[in-house]
Subunit: 330 residues, 2 copies
Amino acid sequence: MPDIRILTESELRQSITLDIQAVDIIEQAFGALAQGGVVMPPILSMSIEEKHGEVDVKTAYVPGMDAFAIKASPGFFDNPAKGLPSLNGLMILFDSDTGILKSVLLDNGYLTDVRTAAAGAVAARHLAPDSPDSVGIIGAGVQAVLQLQALSLVRNFNRVRVWARNPERAADYARRMSEKLGVPVETADTAEQCVRESQVVITTTPARAPVIQADWLQRGQHITAMGSDSPDKNELDPEIVVKADRFVCDRRSQSLTRGELRSAVAAGLVAEDYSVDELGEIIAGKKTCRTGDTMITVCDLTGTGVQDTAIANHAYQVTLDRGAGTSITT
Amino acid sequence: MPDIRILTESELRQSITLDIQAVDIIEQAFGALAQGGVVMPPILSMSIEEKHGEVDVKTAYVPGMDAFAIKASPGFFDNPAKGLPSLNGLMILFDSDTGILKSVLLDNGYLTDVRTAAAGAVAARHLAPDSPDSVGIIGAGVQAVLQLQALSLVRNFNRVRVWARNPERAADYARRMSEKLGVPVETADTAEQCVRESQVVITTTPARAPVIQADWLQRGQHITAMGSDSPDKNELDPEIVVKADRFVCDRRSQSLTRGELRSAVAAGLVAEDYSVDELGEIIAGKKTCRTGDTMITVCDLTGTGVQDTAIANHAYQVTLDRGAGTSITT
C-alpha cells in the first residue's frame, strides 16, 4: 500500500490560510454540487447524551477532484470546564480512483473553520450588495472573526457593528477586529440595532431561538446565517424565510433538517417541499442572484461535505508542494 | 491538545491476532449492545458508481469503553485489475469523555477482518451444536480462512468441507486449512453437498443471490451467514429465515437493510417488523439460544460499529502496552 501522509494542525496552519484562493476553491466546490455527479450522503450524526457530546461525519465525492474527504467532528460541551476545547476533529483523504487512504489531516477543526468562513464569502460574493456601507456581526466567537475577514476579501465596507450576548466579548471583538481590518468596528447596544444599521449581516451563533426578528430587516439587505448546523439550532425568525425576496441555502436537504428551513417548516410557514435555491445553482448560473438594490437576500449555511473535500484536497496539495508532513508506511 | 498515536497495519498485526481474547472482547461488545446505553447510528454509506466504489462509515459509543471508534471502509472493485486490493480503510479512536482524538489505526482493514471473524465465533459459541462432527465453509476468501480459524477457538470438529465458485481456489483453501488446523479439509462437489454434510455451515461470500437453499438444511444444523453487508447482497434462500427455528442477527436494523432479513422481507415472507433476536440479547441472557439437538439456528452478521469500537480499544491498549506506534503532536 502507498505511504500515508500525516499532516498536523501546525503544518496546516502554516500552509493554508483564509484567503481569496480558499474562497475560490469553496466556490468551485459549491458550483460542482449543482453540476451533478457529486455524491454527498446525509451526515452521520451520533449524539452521546450522557457525555454532552456529539459527533458529525461528513463526506462528499466530487468528480474531477483527486481525492474525497471524510471528516469527523466531535463536539463535547463539558470540555471547556476541563480546560479543553469543545470542538476538534480531523479529515481523512482517500484517492478518488481507488479509495485508498492518502492522507490524515490532524487539523483539530482548523480546516473546517477556514472552509466555513470561505462559504460566507462565497454567499456574499453572489448575494450581498456590491458596496455595503456597514456590516453587522452577531456573535463574537471564532466564526465571527473569520466571517468578517472572509467578507473583507470580497466586499469593501466602511464600518462594522457587532452584537453578542456577552458585552465584554463583543467589546473585545470590536477592538481586535478594528485593528485587524483597519475599519471601525463598534459594538451595538442590541441585536436589533446591529441588524437595522447594517447592509450585510452575518449571524455566527449556536442559538436555539431566533437572534434576528423579521421586522428588523431593511430593504436591500443581505443576511448570512451560518450558525445553525443541527436540528436544535435556529438563528432567524422563521418569518424571514418567507419575507426574504431570495432565501438561498448551501444544501436544501441539510437546511431542511439542520438549518433555518427546518424552523420555518416547524413553524408551519412553508411546506417541506418549499422551493429553495442552492448557492451552487447560483454559482453555476442555473439560478439568478441579487437583481436589484431593494431585494432582501438570505443565505443559510449548514456546512457541507463538498467544502470538506475541496479544502482537504487543497491543503494536501499545498503541504505536499511545501514538503510538509510525515509519511507513514503501513 | 494531547498527542495522537498513529498505529500501522504491521504494528497492529504484531499485536492483535484472532484469538480467544478477541472473541471474548467482541462477545462483550454484543452484550453491551443489548444492555442499553450504546449509541450506534445508521451506517453512512456513499456509493461512487462511476468508479465502482463505495465507502461505509460505522461508529458506536459504548458506555464504559475508554474510547469510541469511527471506521471508514472503502471498497473499489476495479482495484484488483490495477494490482491493488479492493478493500482498505482505517479506524479512528476518540476519547469517550472528551471526544478528543486519541489514535489513528492505519490497519488497511485488518482489524475489521479480525472483529468480523470473532463475531462468527461468538455466534457459534451461543448457537452452534456443542460438538459438530463436520463444518461446511462456502467461499474461499479471507473470511473463509478466518471464520474457520475463529470457529476452531470455540468448537472442536473432525472434518471440514469447502465449496467455492472457483474450484481451484476451493482446492487451495482445502490444502492450506488442513495444514493450518490439523483437521481434514476437503472440497465439496456442490454447495448442496457442503451444506447437507455439515452440522455447522458458514457462508462467506459477496453473493447477490442465494448460495444456500432452504431444502438443503438438516435438523440440528447451525448456519452463520456473514457475507451480506449491503442492500444488494444475499446469501440465504429467504425461506431459511422462516424455516429456521431461531433466526438471530447482530443488529436487527442492519439485517433489515443490509442482511438476510432484507431479502426475506423483499420476498414477502416476513413483515418489516418481524420479530428477530439479536446476538447480544442472547449473550445478555435476555433471550434463549439453542435449546435442543434438532433445532435449526441461523445467525446473520452484517458487521456493527460496536465491534469496531471494541477491537479498536483493545488494539490501542495492547499496542500501548507494547510501546508500539508513533506519537504525533498536532
